[in-house]
């Protein structure tokens, strides 16, 4: 079995707000294996970005606070590192791609300088070498005329080209882990496909481990080997891609799959999950999905279900998997053809 490069254990992150403590992440456990792409999916507000920013220790504090947990990178707990040691990790061992390429580049600094910053910091390159490497990186991410382009400012690039620049910055120092927080959500559909292809291609070349955060199950099927489904600050189901698409066991996963548009069906069959996610300043005692779950039982609102190991890779937290629960079949709308592979 592959070695874990990253392991998150019982991570809890809260934000102090005027409305009280928002428990954004409530006991997340995750592993990322060397060379794999792990997708984290879930609705808006489920805690995906907070989880990923926690790995980079980029949670603003105040108001953010780590309540408990460990984030082990190659066995060392990142949460215990000094800010200085953490700075050595960021950008060199672990990198991040942000959602919106229109806002994630500094508008008053040339693209070249923004790429070179990390190189100078982590690899002690001089200006000349860093500039040369920046040109190579732009070439690697498929930007034409890189020699001219490094002297330009972000506003001179289109959205797709900017995201390529962001990817170049993230990959500049050959990180072992790349976290991509919805890297294509802000882009046009055609550009999305190009960026995903680029990321897939680069992953093959560099063997970087990737955490890919997305709303889009199509992207998951395309890129990831494993999936973690997040809801209400918790991981409710994990498994490899086949398990999540072909034998999902959690009603929330069923809901997500049903709401996914399918190529071979009309769009009016698209079903959004009714209801809204729980209020994390006053999180439910039991299963976070209970208020929206069509199969909720009395026990669901009272107690959080334990994980049931369905296979070596699939784990699901749902009371339906308890032997005393009634047998429930997944809805047909998730259609096994749901995954376009």
């Amino acid at each position: 079995m592959l070695e874990n490069i990253l392991e998150i254990k019982d991570l809890r992150v809260s934000f102090e707000t005027y409305a009280g403590e928002v428990q954004a992440v409530r006991g997340v456990n995750l592993e990322l294996k060397k060379g794999e792409a792990l997708a984290i999916v879930g609705e808006s507000g489920s805690g995906k970005s907070v989880t990923s920013k926690s790995i980079m220790r980029l949670i603003p504090s105040p108001p953010g606070k780590f309540k408990s947990g460990e984030i082990l990178f190659e066995g060392n707990d990142l949460l215990k590192l000094s800010e200085k040691s953490m700075q050595k990790m960021r950008g060199s061992e672990i990198s991040m791609i942000f959602q919106d390429p229109m806002t994630s580049l500094n508008p008053t600094m040339t693209v070249g300088k923004q790429i070179m910053e990390g190189l100078k910091k982590h690899q002690n390159m001089n200006k000349h070498d860093a500039a040369q490497r920046a040109v190579e990186l732009l070439e690697l991410v498929g930007i034409p005329n890189p020699e001219d382009r490094i002297k330009q400012y972000p506003h001179q690039f289109s959205g797709g080209m900017r995201q390529r620049v962001v990817i170049a910055i993230a990959l500049a120092c050959n990180p072992k882990v790349l976290i991509a927080d919805e890297p294509t959500t802000a882009l046009d559909v055609t550009i999305q496909a190009q960026i995903l292809d680029l990321m897939k291609d680069l992953q093959k070349k560099t063997n970087t481990s990737i955490i890919l955060i997305t709303h889009d199950l199509g992207v998951v099927a395309n890129m990831a080997q494993r999936v973690a489904v997040m809801y209400g600050g918790k991981i409710v189901e994990t498994g490899n891609v086949d398990e999540i698409f072909y034998s999902p066991k959690h009603p929330y996963t069923w809901g997500l799959l049903s709401s996914m548009p399918k190529l071979d069906s009309k769009s009016d069959e698209l079903m959004a999950i009714p209801g809204t996610p729980p209020d994390l300043s006053n999180p439910p005692k039991g299963c976070p999905f209970a208020a929206r779950c069509p199969h909720a039982m009395k026990v669901c609102t009272e107690h959080m279900p334990e994980y049931t190991e369905l296979s070596e890779t699939q784990k699901t937290a749902c009371w339906l998997l308890d032997e005393r629960a009634p047998k429930v079949e997944p809805p047909e709308t998730i259609g096994v053809g749901g995954a376009q592979k």
Binding site: M89, N106, T108, E117
Partner: protein
């Protein structure tokens, strides 16, 4: 870009013309005699003087004559100081006012930027609240009140600083502070809000995600972007300083234009009043023009607009 600049210059000239005209007619409507001892002079002498200055001509003719002179850079002759041209009076006063204005602006802008940045970086702490209290006070307490308070405590009571005049660095301290406080307040608030916005932006997270140290993130990424809009209020704040100096110079008996302006109003010295107004309006118009250009120089998004992007 060139067309834009030309258009701005044209507007500037039109505005200037309107200001000169308005102040000319306003001056004509003002009551009071320009002559020092009008009562004693007797009607004949007054008539003779009026003839000498051209005041016996119809107002439209006076207006055309005045415009013509202004266009040639001639602001006329003072009523109060015999034989002195307005130009020479202004020229002798400008350096002192410029000194005061520039010192106050530089100090105001620098301290404002630093305080605003500190408040943003320490948002929600007592440092932040302290800066905001200073800012509110600085905006709401008029500079002449602050000037007189300082003059009374530090000048009269404690005798730490000279009460008035403009010689030696000590004499600069109180007037410069009185004038700068307004800019400090405005700029600190502006800078704080700007910087809080910038610190919350994605590219700051991105800069941190590269592993840059905190000072590098703050100085290279946050400060520069926060300064873009600040640069555009430096000149307006210089203009506020100049307006303030009208009163401050008077309080501290500083021999600058403001001091001159107030005494000219008291003595109805029309040519000097008009000349000062014109000088101020030129200054303000050029200031506004430069502010517009400053956007373009500092922010590359505007710099190349219409260029090669």
């Amino acid at each position: 870009m060139v067309a834009y600049i030309l258009k701005r210059i044209l507007y500037m000239l039109i505005t200037f013309f309107v200001i000169v005209s308005l102040s000319f007619f306003a001056m004509k409507l003002l009551p009071g005699s320009p002559y020092r001892n009008a009562a004693k002079l007797g009607p004949e002498l007054v008539a003779q003087l009026n003839h000498q200055y051209g005041f016996d001509k119809p107002i439209p003719v006076q207006y055309i004559n005045y415009l013509n002179k202004v266009l040639h850079g001639d602001l006329g002759v003072s009523f109060q100081y015999e034989g002195r041209t307005v130009n020479s009076i202004l020229a002798s006063k400008v350096p002192v006012s410029a000194d005061l204005g520039i010192e106050a602006t530089i100090i105001g802008v620098l301290i404002g930027i630093i305080l605003g940045a500190i408040a943003a970086l320490r948002r929600g702490t007592w440092l932040d609240y302290g800066v905001m209290v200073i800012a509110v006070l600085g905006i709401s307490v008029p500079s002449f009140i602050l000037a007189q308070l300082m003059q009374y405590y530090f000048g009269v009571q404690l005798r730490w600083l000279p009460v008035a005049k403009w010689d030696g660095i000590e004499s600069h301290i109180m007037p410069v502070i009185a004038l700068a406080v307004g800019s400090v307040a405005v700029i600190a608030r502006y800078m704080r809000n700007e910087m809080i916005g910038v610190l919350g932006s994605d590219y700051i997270d991105m800069a941190r995600a590269k592993g840059l140290s905190r000072p590098a993130v703050v100085i290279k990424h946050a400060m520069r972007n926060s300064l873009v809009p600040i640069a555009t209020i430096v000149i307006p704040s210089l203009m506020t300083v100049i307006t303030g100096s009208l009163v401050i110079e008077n309080i501290f008996a500083i021999p600058g234009i403001g001091d001159q302006f107030v005494s000219s109003i008291v003595t109805n010295d029309y040519p000097v009043i008009m000349g000062t107004t014109i000088l101020f309006s030129i200054f303000f118009l050029v200031g506004i023009f430069l502010t517009d250009l400053a956007y373009g120089v500092i922010d590359p998004r505007i710099r190349v607009a219409g260029g090669d992007s």
